[in-house]
């Protein structure tokens, strides 16, 4: 059987989540591997969410926020950009493939981009295979 990765999506309410909605209402197709959690802003994302997701079995984590300059709270994603850049470096130095974690800016009108990013990211995670390093073995 082919490997179907589990991918956690964390999307901000105002842009990426709405973009995902648009992808849905325009009936774009994209892989079903993504499970989306909605947060009010990309700066709401505690980096520990990402470490924890990998521990609880995620093969990849995709964060989506408004484009810089478009954050509903003006500057949330500008803080998030720095913070999540550090998260990536930490994952990498710990030995996790940095490609398992991605941040994308997707606006409410970019349903197409949402579908493309999810499709492409899912392909990438499939190529990387299952993530077993952080995963808590039961």
């Amino acid at each position: 059987m082919s490997f179907e990765p589990k991918i956690l999506g964390i999307a901000c309410n105002w842009c990426t989540y709405t973009g995902a909605d648009l992808a849905g209402t325009t009936r774009l197709e994209y892989p079903q591997n993504l499970r989306v959690v909605r947060v009010m802003c990309s700066s709401r994302i505690n980096p520990s969410f990402i470490f924890r997701a990998f521990q609880l079995g995620a093969d990849g984590v995709l964060v989506g926020g408004c484009h810089p300059g478009d954050c509903h709270y003006n500057t949330g994603n500008l803080y998030a950009r720095r913070r999540l850049a550090v998260t990536r470096k930490i994952l990498e130095f710990a030995g996790i493939e940095p490609g398992r974690f991605r941040v994308e800016w997707i606006s409410a009108s970019e349903g197409n981009k949402f579908a493309e990013v999810v499709t492409e990211f899912t392909r990438q995670i499939k190529n990387l295979g299952p993530q077993n390093k952080f995963k808590i073995s039961q």
């Binding site: 520990s48 470490f51 924890r52 500057t75 720095r82 470096k89 930490i90 996790i96 390093k133 952080f134």
Partner: protein, 288 residues
């Protein structure tokens, strides 16, 4: 020229005495005798007569910035600081934990501090490798010159060159040895949160027993919380009873932050901590 430990001790006693006598400060944080020569301890002087009990030698490694946040805001405190310790105080000022006017920096320029566990000289391999405080009100000795300048990040090369599987194996082995005594957190001047995330039970960020997954969660999150704040004093690693080389990970994060945000922690009281700051033109490249 460098001052001898003895002369630094004399200057420390004299300055501390003056500050307490005049009422400029209520407290002086310095070093006192431990159970033997190799184990001096942090020491709090509150009265001019206390200064007679102060010592300074090559084993006075503790970062006394750690104790500043224990006192109520507004307490006037003088603190003896070596180069890295001084950066920790500056960082605490940046984070508005203490006010510049409330602290007197008793700067100690010194080379030749030794790790009491190994007897080795502490240098850029396990710390920031600076020997002169970047900021001081009183300097307790002559500035150190003539030591080789080595980047504190040079020691990372071998680990950066490892392939990711090997690096994971390395860290897994190290973190698995952690007994979760939290000495690293206790020694660190920048670990002042109450409660610490790992002590919370709602939500429970990670298991509290010393098992692989809880250890991983504790350490990775702690490294993250210290990003842009760790001043590379190396105290966490020296405090660790099982000698986990935490400094390597902290250095790596510090290096990346310096490269991405153009600022090292605790170098100037006018800086803002890198992670509670941003620039509109920060590049998206940092996410790649």
């Amino acid at each position: 020229m460098t001052s001898s430990f003895k002369s630094i001790e004399e200057n420390l006693k004299a300055e501390a005495g003056k500050l307490l006598e005049s009422g400029r400060v209520e407290i002086v944080l310095a070093y006192g005798r431990g159970y033997d020569e190799n184990h001096p301890m942090p020491f709090v002087a509150k009265h001019p007569s206390d200064v007679a009990n102060m010592v300074f030698n090559e084993y006075c490694i503790h970062n006394l910035a750690r104790y500043l946040v224990r006192y109520p805001r507004g307490t006037k405190i003088a603190v003896a600081v070596k180069a890295a310790d001084c950066r920790a105080v500056i960082q605490l000022i940046q984070e508005e934990k203490i006010k510049r006017d409330d602290v007197v920096f008793l700067g100690i320029p010194v080379y030749g501090m030794k790790n009491p566990k190994t007897g080795e000289i502490i240098d850029s391999k396990t710390t920031c490798g600076m020997y002169n405080p970047v900021l001081y009100d009183v300097l307790l000795g002559e500035e150190v010159h003539g030591q080789k300048i080595v980047s504190p990040y040079d020691v990372l090369a071998d680990y950066e060159a490892m392939d990711k599987e090997a690096r994971w194996a390395f860290w897994k082995k190290e973190f698995d040895r952690c007994i979760r005594c939290y000495a690293c957190r206790k020694a660190c001047p920048m670990c002042y949160c109450d409660p610490c995330f790992i002590d919370q039970s709602k939500p429970r960020w990670g298991d509290k027993s010393p098992q692989s997954h809880g250890n991983l969660m504790y350490h990775l999150t702690r490294f993250h919380h210290l990003a842009g704040r760790c001043i590379d004093c190396g105290e966490c690693s020296r405090a660790c009873p099982v000698d986990i080389p935490l400094y390597l990970f902290h250095k790596k994060v510090a290096k990346e932050c310096e490269e991405m945000f153009g600022q090292a922690a605790g170098m100037s009281i006018d800086d803002k901590p890198a992670l509670v700051n941003f620039r509109v033109d920060d590049s998206d490249k940092i996410l790649e």
